[in-house]
Amino acid sequence: MESETASTPVGDSTGITATGAHHNQPVVERLWQGPLRHLDAARFGTLGSLVLVLVIESIVFGVINPRFATGSNMQVIGYEVSFNVILAVGTTAALVSNTLDISFAAVAGLSGVLTAVLATHDGVPMVLAIVIAMAVCILVGLINGIVSVFVGVPPFIVTLAMLFIVYGIQLELTNGNVIPVSSQLFYRVVAGYLGPVPLPVIYALVVVVAGAYWLRRTVSGAHVFEIGSNEEAAYVFGVRVPRVRLGVLMLQGLLAGIVGVMFTAELSSATPALGSTRLLTVIAAVVLGGTSLFGGEGSVIGSVVGVLFLGTLQDGLVLIGINPNLEYLVTGLFLMLAVIAQFLRKGKKAFG
């Protein structure tokens, strides 16, 4: 007993029996042992510094070009960011479970194209078209899951193949053309505004709250972390590993499908490869937000901050008149820093 406590100091951590004593403690300490107890210092540091950079970034853009801080620019950013936020929620769950899905952006495109083709060419009612598109996207996730879980092919490879398959289907469906969607109602309900707030922002908020709650508070959410941290332990302890892995990839498919429909509504049309440039942006944002590339660690909130950071950067660089191509350079530099920090924190090195 003595040696245990000596090797890892646990004296200062409160047991659950200490709830009675909380009333006499300073507020900060109570917060730290209560709502904030999940934030270990290192993770708080990563997320905190990203929030700080986001704030500084916003102030700099705002000072250089006052148009940055206007309501209409916030609407532009909100619109832009909400799509990536929804995609990032799925990617966070996937990466936490140690699965890298690179087909989601293509799947989003497929969903948009399917909705448009069904509604415009085949005369299917819009709601039914959306439901069919969602079902197809979930099916794509299921196939990704079956091949990676039951055949044992690494998810990265499976979803790479799926990316091509899905893109091919889009080209075949559209012949490479733009498919217009004329429904005004569709635009207003999916991509319109509620007062000054773009509806996609509200949808993204709902997805974020649900996703964060699921990952942090529920049994299957805990299993996602445990599988990512130690799949073998989870299996021998009776976690239904295949089921959770399939679920994560199907969720990724569903969220991509939702975003695809939102794209199509926003543009009132669908084209092949819609949104395919978002693949790398979303993965970068999730990693910037502190989700581990090794599985077992990550948070939806971190990913949201990561997406906000990159979205603001993209918007701001244009507004202050810097060549927007620099966006990639700056994103890359930040990502490099974030990944180096992750490795240093883990003490992982490829050699030695």
Binding site: T8, V219, S220, F225, F237, G238
Partner: protein, 253 residues
Amino acid sequence: MNDTAFSATEIVKHYGEIEALRGVSVSGVYGQIMGIVGDNGAGKSTFCRILSGAEGPTSGSVEIGGTKMTTFNPREAASAGVGTIYQNIPLALHSSVSDNIFMGQEIVKRPMFFGIHRMDRRLMAVKAKDALAAVGVDVDPRRQARALSGGQRQAVAVARMVLFQQRVVVMDEPTAALSVDNRKRVYDAVHGLASSGACVLMVGHNLPEILAIAHRVVIFRQGRIVADVDAGQASEHQLLQLMSGVKPQEMAR
């Protein structure tokens, strides 16, 4: 009431061309600590993996508490009362101690939809704290498992067995990576488990320790059980002989 905790009959296991087990039959009774020894590759770990449902046998049958195993997966074994502690499968290190103790058998607060359940983390922490205290470890169950020492991590695994009252506990070299102090802690916990009525199977390399803790020692050699001895009557020397199959005169040389 039947005292037989488990019985394995004519277990054969092949990995391709390799015959890991060639017809192993053995049974254990409740309250008994059974030491399992043997040279590397003798089949002890394979036997443990089959008993705990991590793998199925090529042929043969296993009964746990009178129930015949059919699918050989960890959930089936766990529901029949088998708990397993592996040396090389520690915990999910990024998750909390209490999440680890309850992994796969979480306490649910509120069923939601599509089989999504909210966990009762508060109650889990309280129960985890009690189970940890029962094996003599004082750590905050909400801490990340990563922050624990090796001995504490094994103790967390034992606490799991205590909490779920597993009747057959398989321990594959639970103390191999531990310091002397930490070993003693694990052995105390194992005695506690056995006196509460569990049948404990303990695989080990450290013969004096196995002889000291076990009631009975089963010796594996080349995929078979070659001897089943009373730990009180056997010597380390005898065990070595049985493990290697070498006659005492030859060993003396």
